[in-house]
Symmetry: C2
Subunit: 334 residues, 2 copies
């Protein structure tokens, strides 16, 4: 039994089954115009030879790949796993596959993501943006390649989708004000983060909309340690009864920092985070936070491409609001 190096094609199956190649093809696609017994004979031949359809021949003929490309500048990033879950789920639904590509971030441009994708077998592409690409304003998607950007910025030529970070802050601030707090202090993130900046804007503008001048923010760096320091710093501020941190790690750090200064959460100070990422990592801490549905974001992006199927797709911009999850770290005042 010599190893069969060459892959088996419809031709081989056709010969063995004693039918034409076309009949084999029709059997593969379960066409109703093939007699059941013929089908069975063909299927037997396919099994015997171990036939599997060749993707290249098929898509060459069809002019479609049934695949969506995903370009990431950083694979390791908060929420990417959930987004991928969404990509995969939506792709599955449409019978599509996902092709993943890491794009070198030097330079950090949409053009580099686009050209990286251009020679791959994809019908459309999704780019996950973490920062502001240098060519965001001038970028044009490849002709015939529908391009969806995961970002909260709007683009004139590409559809975009992301979580609504502004609304997230609005929800948190209004929730805290609604619980009687006079103002909300904020622990921010590094300035290069697009989503972080948008959260900051949301915090600031929502306070102003309620006639409250935003207090001095404390700049953090996403780490619990920076939240800890922020908590210690804010512990001595008598006006500080509510703190909103840009992520859960800083929120948790903040709680511990406050405790180290003898302030208790939520008795003395209320704390809210963002991301719902503490999950099972921290015991005895039901942090009030905002949960985003990154899977839904991912699904939307792939749906947009795989669901189009030839129809001229319009450019759309979608922002999904997060959900405020009430924990034990906020208290009513007054």
């Amino acid at each position: 039994m010599a190893a069969v190096k060459k892959s088996v094609s419809v031709k081989d199956v056709a010969r063995l089954a004693g039918v034409s190649e076309q009949t084999v093809s029709r059997t593969v696609h379960d066409s109703p115009s093939v007699r059941p017994e013929t089908k069975e004979r063909v299927r037997a031949a396919m099994r015997e030879l171990g036939y599997r359809p060749n993707f290249a021949g098929r898509s060459l003929r069809r002019g479609k790949f049934k695949t969506v490309g995903v370009a990431m500048f950083n694979i390791t990033g908060t929420g990417n796993l959930d987004r991928m879950e969404g990509f995969a789920a939506a792709a599955d639904k449409h019978g599509y596959a996902i092709t993943l590509t890491k794009v070198d971030g030097h330079p950090y441009t949409l053009e580099s993501a686009s050209s990286r994708m251009s020679a791959l077998p994809v019908d459309g592409m999704v780019v996950i943006m973490n920062r502001m690409p240098a060519d965001f304003g001038t970028f044009e998607p490849l002709p015939g390649m529908q391009t969806v950007l995961v970002t909260m910025l709007e683009h004139p030529l590409c559809s975009t989708v992301d979580n609504d970070q502004f609304d997230c802050s609005r929800q948190v601030v209004e929730y805290l004000l609604g619980r009687g707090h006079k103002t909300v202090h904020f622990i921010s993130c590094p300035e290069r983060s697009l989503s972080g900046m948008r959260r900051e804007e949301g915090w600031r503008e929502t306070l102003r909309a309620h006639g409250i001048e935003p207090p001095q923010l404390v700049r953090g760096d996403w780490t619990a340690q920076s939240g800890y320091a922020a908590g210690q710093a804010l512990a001595d501020d008598p006006t500080c009864t509510a703190i909103y941190a840009s992520n859960d790690a800083m929120a948790y750090g903040c709680i511990r920092g406050l405790e180290s200064r003898g302030k208790h959460v939520p008795q003395d100070v209320s704390v809210v985070g963002v991301d719902d990422s503490l999950g099972d990592i921290v015991p005895d801490c039901r942090l009030t936070t905002v949960r985003f549905d990154n899977k839904r974001v991912g699904m939307w992006a792939v749906d947009k491409i795989a669901g189009a199927e030839g129809v001229e797709p319009g450019v759309e911009h979608m922002l999904f609001p997060g959900v405020l999850v009430e924990g034990d770290t906020v208290r009513d005042v007054r």
Copy 2:
């Protein structure tokens, strides 16, 4: 300017540049046997027409896809992001792409992963196993499709790669014994986890190898809360001076549980975790833990496939040891 619906091919470029299709192809591949000025003319034509090579035609001709498929039963899983980083890095290195597929886990078989991949444009595949597939013993990879399993079990027909969980426990136990502890208590994980079970074996056998009968283990469920309960339970055991938890979340929970009972870490009890996953989430806690390099595991898997390039690949089994990272949660005794 009517939209050009049809994609441009070498033929179009050749016509515009006034050369043969072959010369265009040679230019695309930067062959040295094309005069620089001809190349430039061809390149200009490509730019003008917006030519990009068609993947289907190319791989049909070549009989290769330059793509590795990755099948996952669960996309959301510890370490998957790092593994993907590794997949992407290795693929990049070889000029390959990665195609991601979620496999329905009902039934949980390698066969279902394999058949899911069979119609996709891939030259080889990687399966990430979290549990024991029903057909592990009998599975045969598709002919011509090199298959690598990410698991610590060895397979007769497929190469395998994973972190060395047994060795991980050996390192931790010997480290603690070396620091003077008389025994090591263990917080385990649910029994369906392959890697968790292997950690448990490593703990048990290493203790026995040192002539120590393993104490009763405490079964956890990966959550900090279960670690907290375990810590409280072990706080009253006077023989317990060192605790090894199956992951960092439980280790952290355990520390807090011990503290809630008045025991301090590391003064009273030493605690070690696994995963190095606390990172920036918890302030003021430098947990002694074991760090795995999942990126390296991912790279190895894709290297095995993309690096083969036609040569008949042997079946290999690779286990990468973790690195014990010393923190502040272990103390010498005596």
